[in-house]
């Protein structure tokens, strides 16, 4: 290979994104270990081993995706869409039920969460759908087509029920619609519909008791500190007591003494806040900010509208999850079971995030075509 070719190759790789993603993954594995190394049962490396395994598999998947051309996905829009629906239907019939929700399909050594996969498929298929409209959804009828297109998988996810992922779906859709020159009137219409839906949900008691409790706690954090408010209070205590420099890695009392609930998954940011302090948490937010920035920059530089929309979709997904998850641990968002990208323990979510990175790198690499 000639020197010039190598230079060309290097120009195709977004090293900053790779480094950011790598730092996040390392960060995440460290925090998962810190949150789980003192579990009373089993090996202290149980969770770490699994998380590292998923990270490596994710890395391989990302490499595979980079080696493809993302435009290829556009041609398989319909099979992907149908496959997605089938998978989401499958989970309702053969899925594993825990805590009253049916979200997982057992795959031997790990439990696949189709709703995570559905997020990526949504991005890929909706991008193709919108790209066909040339980034123009001027007519309200087209808007309704989009709603129906997104609505079907969304409904299946709500049935599981998985409100958190459903909300991520909406965020992805809104982000991509916005880039597709959504008209302001239509934006207002969507807002109105949203308010109406919320009203109807309360009117017909469609929320489950735990969800109402979470909302109550969000509105009034002091209520029921031993019950529904416990998680939020403990999370705020963990972050608040972390102070500027933190209590030190593996030295968080809220973490190691089990005061923090689901600290290796939904509340992992509280562990960061407690053990690494403002310095560590702000650094993490900085990494996330850079990640989103790279996503949007890649969207801007994409070789075609499809690439832009995919990049926006991936960025919207991450951005929404980061905002809701981090906001939740600090009491400025209601508690929803949305994982923090790259940090929260969980195989499906980790793999999907790697797919996201792979797609972004791919779009970046094909930006000149």
């Amino acid at each position: 290979m000639k020197k010039r070719d190598i230079f060309e190759w290097i120009r195709l790789i977004d090293f900053s994104l790779i480094i950011t993603a790598a730092l996040l993954v390392i960060f995440g594995n460290l925090m998962v270990y810190s949150a789980t190394h003192n579990v009373s049962q089993g090996s202290q490396f149980f969770y770490l081993k699994k998380q590292i395994t998923f990270s490596l598999i994710g890395f391989l998947i990302a490499v595979c995706i980079v080696l493809l051309n993302y435009n290829w996905f556009k041609h398989y829009m319909m099979p992907l869409y149908v496959g997605n629906i089938v998978l989401l239907l499958l989970v309702l019939f053969i899925g594993r039920t825990t805590y009253g929700a049916t979200r997982w399909i057992s795959m031997g050594f790990f439990h696949l969460q189709p709703s995570e996969l559905a997020k990526i498929i949504l991005i890929l298929t909706l991008s193709a759908f919108l790209a066909d409209k040339k980034g123009n959804i001027g007519k309200i009828s087209e808007l309704f087509t989009v709603f129906a297109y997104v609505g079907l998988p969304l409904l299946l996810i709500l049935i599981q029920p998985d409100l958190g992922t459903a909300l991520v779906f909406l965020a992805i859709m809104l982000g991509m619609l916005f880039i597709s020159r959504l008209r302001w009137q239509h934006a207002l219409f969507i807002l109105g519909t949203g308010i109406l839906v919320i009203f109807l949900v309360f009117q017909f008691n469609l929320l489950r008791e735990y969800q109402i409790n979470r909302l109550m706690v969000f509105i009034n954090p002091g209520v029921d500190p031993m019950g529904a408010g416990y998680n939020l209070l403990q999370s705020k205590i963990a972050i608040g007591s972390g102070s500027f420099f933190g209590k030190g890695l593996f030295s968080g009392t809220q973490t190691s003494l089990n005061f923090l609930p689901v600290r290796y998954a939904d509340f992992i940011f509280s562990v960061v806040g407690e053990e690494l302090g403002f310095l560590g948490a702000a650094f993490l937010l900085g990494l996330y900010f850079f990640l989103i920035y790279r996503g949007l920059a890649i969207a801007l530089s994409a070789g075609n509208l499809y690439g832009t929309l995919v990049a926006v979709g991936v960025s919207s997904m991450w951005f929404f999850q980061i905002f809701v998850n981090v906001g939740m641990t600090m009491g400025i968002m209601p508690i929803t079971g949305i994982p923090l990208p790259f940090l929260s323990y969980g195989g499906s979510s980790m793999l999907i995030n790697f797919v996201g990175v792979g797609l972004l790198l791919n779009i970046y690499a094909h930006r000149f075509k």
């Binding site: 020159r181 806040g273 937010l285 996330y288 994409a302 075609n304 926006v312 906001g327």
Partner: protein, 619 residues
């Protein structure tokens, strides 16, 4: 290259701005939690993980003067429940069946709002071992229930001396407030009466604590700091167990006998033995008694109501020093001394008792208890026969002399003020005088004036005079020793848990009664005559030790007579002063004096051979 058109670029820029705003919000929130509110949350994190468990010290032991244990401690199996389990009705019902308690009783114990809501509540003490084992083995059926071993008070001599010893109870809000600077906390046991209350600070010892780190489930992860509790000090009392038992028996028997012999309302009384040379209380009995072990683990409201019901005669009261009564004729020695010391009468003064006395005029006749009359009397025979007429005369002379002389002498003998015995809730009694009467009848102007009859009534220990049996015993002790009022006391010494003496009670002079030696000797001689050929002759006949004393039969409106006897022995070198009082027991000579004889017999370790009751109509 297909380039994006500008409107999409603009929209991406809008998204970018939104991202910047949202991340700024997150960062600001992070700053406000971790930098601005750091103190608040740090404290909360600390209180989350650090618990201080206080360890109660072993409470001091109470001994009698010979080293016999009156109160010590023993372990008790306790069932305790987390207060939050109050909602678990099914479990409470099951547990109740096991413990023989109704769910209401258990809930009542869990409802106490003053206690720490996180602390387990003891609901039953002294649980049988097999039940405790059952609960432990079926812990899954009894969530929040724990079996603990707690140290509780133990009374090896059962109810003996219960009024002296007192009982323990949970500290109440008022006591918590009063002892704010001490290490008391809600749920602590404190002395509620008797020695337990008086010497709370000595018996209690110092609390220890254990500062531990706990995890979210409350499990102790490690111990951060620890202080061993310091055991309370032990107290040795002046009480003599054998004499105490005999005194209680004699008192109880006297009440039973009185009840069977025409005084059905006799149901309460007091008796005590004092060392006239030191003020040491050798025995102190009050009837009816109660069982202090009822208070272990908290008394039930039903039992508490019973103890405070009129029909049970208020057994919690120590009648020797918490109540005051008209002393009747046991007061006559004071009038005797007052008359002689003020020079208003002499041993040559003659009195003619015809059964009725009209010294204050025919409109106000007063009667001797002996309506037939004693005939020609002097002061000496007046005392030994307890002739009222003699003392009416002396009283009237004291009234006419002015200056409230009789009251002055009553006070000289310690009446009307506390003896300062080391027991809580002592009564001061009452020596009535002009000022008192005026104030007492504030709302009834027509009764405010002190009249001659008031002093005349006071002279025979009636009227508005009130004395506690303890004051009377101390008074007779002063007569016995020639005029020193010793402060009566129960503490002999305080010992550390290791047995080292750290305090010894030295006798303490309350006052010197300024009676001349001559007059005191005459009084002692005439009190001896009471026992030899006076009103206590029958009761004390054949008693091998020489006793001097005085009977009393006080009248209380609407009730049967109260029987009194106060005495000391032996007359030459007195070792014991005894006072006995039986509420509504009849005549002092017939009921109280025989009881005193039995108490004296026990004091001198003689066989108890006297009569239980003798016929005597004197007052």
């Amino acid at each position: 290259m297909v380039r994006l058109d500008d409107s999409i670029k603009k929209r991406l820029a809008v998204v970018g701005v939104m991202v910047v705003i949202i991340f700024s919000i997150l960062l600001i929130r992070l700053w406000s939690l971790q930098v601005i509110a750091v103190d608040k949350y740090s404290k909360m994190a600390e209180s989350n993980r650090i618990r201080t468990i206080s360890a109660t010290a072993s409470r001091g032991i109470i001994y009698d003067r010979n080293g016999e244990i009156l109160v010590n401690n023993r372990p008790s199996l306790v069932v305790a429940i987390a207060p939050s389990e109050i909602e678990n009705k099914g479990m409470l019902l099951k547990l109740g069946k096991l413990l023989n308690m109704t769910p209401d009783e258990i809930e009542g114990k869990l409802k106490d709002k003053t206690a720490d809501p996180l602390k387990l509540r003891a609901i039953k003490y002294d649980v049988e071992e097999n039940i405790a084992v059952y609960v432990k083995e079926h812990s899954l059926d009894f969530p929040g229930v724990e079996i603990k071993v707690e140290s509780v008070r133990n009374y090896p001599k059962s109810t003996m001396a219960v009024h002296v010893l007192g009982y323990l109870g949970e500290i109440n809000e008022e006591e918590l407030r009063e002892n704010e600077n001490q290490e008391y906390e809600s749920g602590d046991l404190v002395g509620k009466s008797g020695i337990e209350k008086q010497y709370e600070g000595i018996l209690r010892g110092g609390k220890g604590f254990q500062q531990v780190e706990v995890d979210a489930s409350g499990k102790v992860v490690r111990i951060l700091d620890e202080k061993e509790p310091i055991a309370g000090n032990n107290i040795q009392l002046t009480i003599d167990s054998n004499l105490q038992l005999a005194t209680e028996e004699a008192l109880r028997d006297a009440i039973v006998v009185a009840r069977r012999n025409g005084y059905p309302d006799a149901g309460a009384g007091a008796a005590l033995v004092v060392n006239p040379n030191t003020g040491e209380i050798l025995a102190m009995a009050s009837y009816p008694t109660y069982d202090a072990s009822l208070f272990i683990g908290g008394i039930s409201s039903k039992q508490w109501a019973e103890l405070n019901d009129k029909s049970s005669n208020f057994p919690l009261i120590n009648r020797t020093m918490m109540c005051s009564y008209a002393p009747g004729s046991v007061f006559k020695p004071v009038t005797y001394v007052a008359g002689l010391m003020e020079g208003l009468v002499s041993h040559n003064s003659a009195f003619d008792c015809e059964g009725t006395w009209v010294g204050m005029g025919k409109k106000w006749p007063k009667h001797c208890w002996d309506r037939a009359g004693h005939g020609l009397m002097n002061l000496s025979s007046g005392l030994s026969e307890s002739c009222d007429i003699v003392f009416y005369e002396v009283g009237y002379k004291l009234y006419k002399a002015g200056g409230e002389k009789l009251q002055k002498w009553a006070r000289e003998f310690g009446l009307g003020s506390k003896t300062d015995i080391d027991l809580p809730s002592e009564t001061r009694g009452r020596v009535p005088d002009k000022a008192w009467k005026k104030k007492f009848n504030e709302k009834y102007p027509e009764y405010q004036r002190w009249v001659p009859g008031d002093t005349v009534n006071l002279a025979i220990g009636q009227g508005d005079l009130l004395t506690s049996p303890l004051q009377i015993a101390d008074l007779y002790g002063a007569i016995a020793n020639g005029g020193i009022l010793w402060k009566p006391h129960l503490e002999k010494r305080v010992l550390t848990a290791g047995g080292e003496e750290i305090h010894k009670f030295e006798r303490e002079r309350l006052a010197d009664v300024s009676v001349s030696e001559k007059i005191m000797k005459e009084l002692q001689r005439d009190l001896r005559r009471v026992a030899v050929d006076g009103t206590a002759k029958r009761a004390l006949e054949g008693f091998p030790v020489e006793v001097a004393g005085k009977t009393g039969t006080s009248q209380v409106k609407g009730k049967d007579d109260f029987a009194w006897f106060a005495c000391y022995a032996p007359i030459n070198s007195p070792r014991y002063a005894v006072a006995v009082m039986v509420e509504q027991g009849g005549h002092g000579g017939s009921i109280a004096a025989p009881a005193a004889r039995r108490i004296l017999a026990a004091s001198f370790e003689l066989p108890s051979t006297g009569p239980m009751i003798v016929s005597d109509k004197s007052r």
